[in-house]
């Protein structure tokens, strides 16, 4: 009974390990965030192969059935993984918020500049030919257009 369970857990853990590994290879999961999964999988395998550790620990903690100790371990690991993800989410949340704010202000700045140029009847034109070593300011050209206002004034005269 115990051996069968050991085998099932070992196979399941290995499959999970390989599955996460393949996802990392396919760049679906970032290795940094998969580390906590690998860590848990390795611990699980160690406990599974040496059930003595589990019995020792359950004795130590006064748990009658070693399988309950395993459950406790599993639960602890899940909490650990969720905790690391909470930190990751918080970090990303802050960064996304700042990005949105910066984008909003950049857009505003751009509209400001475009508006100022438009007042001067200047159009921003893209230059198709450019060399790589020149900065972004060389990729556009400011073209001053003839003022339509003066033309209409002449017509009136």
């Amino acid at each position: 009974m115990m051996f069968r369970l050991q085998l099932i857990i070992a196979v399941a853990t290995l499959i999970a390990f390989l599955y996460v590994g393949s996802k990392v290879k396919k760049r679906v999961i970032e290795l940094k965030y998969a580390l906590v999964w690998f860590f848990v999988a390795i611990l699980f395998l160690v406990i599974d192969i040496f059930p003595g550790t589990l019995e020792y620990l359950s004795d130590l903690m006064g748990i009658e059935l070693p399988i309950n100790m395993l459950m406790l371990f599993g639960f602890g690991f899940i909490l650990l993984i969720l905790y690391t993800f909470t930190i990751v989410i918080t970090n990303q949340d802050r960064r996304i918020k700042r990005l949105i704010q910066e984008t909003a202000l950049l857009n505003y700045r751009l509209e400001e500049i475009e508006g100022a140029l438009k007042k001067e009847n200047i159009k921003v034109k893209k230059i198709k030919t450019r060399t790589a070593d020149e900065g972004p300011e060389h990729k556009v050209k400011l073209v001053k257009e003839k003022k339509e206002v003066s033309e209409t004034l002449e017509e009136e005269e």
Binding site: D93, I96, K97, I100, Q101, T103, A104, L105, N107, Y108, R109
Partner: protein
Amino acid sequence: MKKALVIIPAYNEEGNIIKTVEDIKKNAPSFDYVIINDCSKDDTMRLCEKSGYNVVNMPLNSGIGAAVQCGYLYAKRYGYEYAVQVDGDGQHDAAFLEEMLSIIKTEKMNMLIGSRFIEKEGFQSSGARRMGINWFSRLIKIFTGETVTDPTSGMRMVGRDVINFFAEEYPKDYPEPETAITVLKLGYTLKEIPVRMKAREEGTSSISFKRAIYYMFKVTIACFMAGIGYEKYKKEDFMDRSYGGEKL
């Protein structure tokens, strides 16, 4: 450019935004204003652009806290010395802004809160809300020893140092009571002055009945978090060494 800025966070405020801005233009001439449109689904953006208002459009809806913080970031970048937050729903009376500005200047306060409950005039909110407000008032008293009669008031004016602080760190939603504690804990000076507020005319408050539970829970925990123990930031981190502001 003027030295003081009104930050107007707006989310689906097509019914109120024009009234709010015109009120500020008319009754608060020493202020520039900026509308932070938090990706409204209604006509707010088009209305603002048609009227030629100064508006910053958030590319994604990110909540009132992020929108207001964007306003403080704007104030920091464009070198404003004072910034005040006014709700886009027309509840705040712009006539009090000039008074607040002169007080914050002469008394050299870091933060000024417009309170409905000092002279008990104007819109006083419902009974249940008053209870909530009292609760936060008491929390602030416990954690900081200071009396803030209207901790949920959205009408808050801050000076350059607190602008810098808010641009760096501002809660995601329902920030008012929590930031009052943080600001006091950091050692800034805070004062309340009496204002009158109006009842909301159009649209719905961001705190609907369903969200009241979340509000109480979140803000209470936030107050405890702000009130107890270790503070990551120091007042000196946000001291302004270049008055007049950094140039873009």
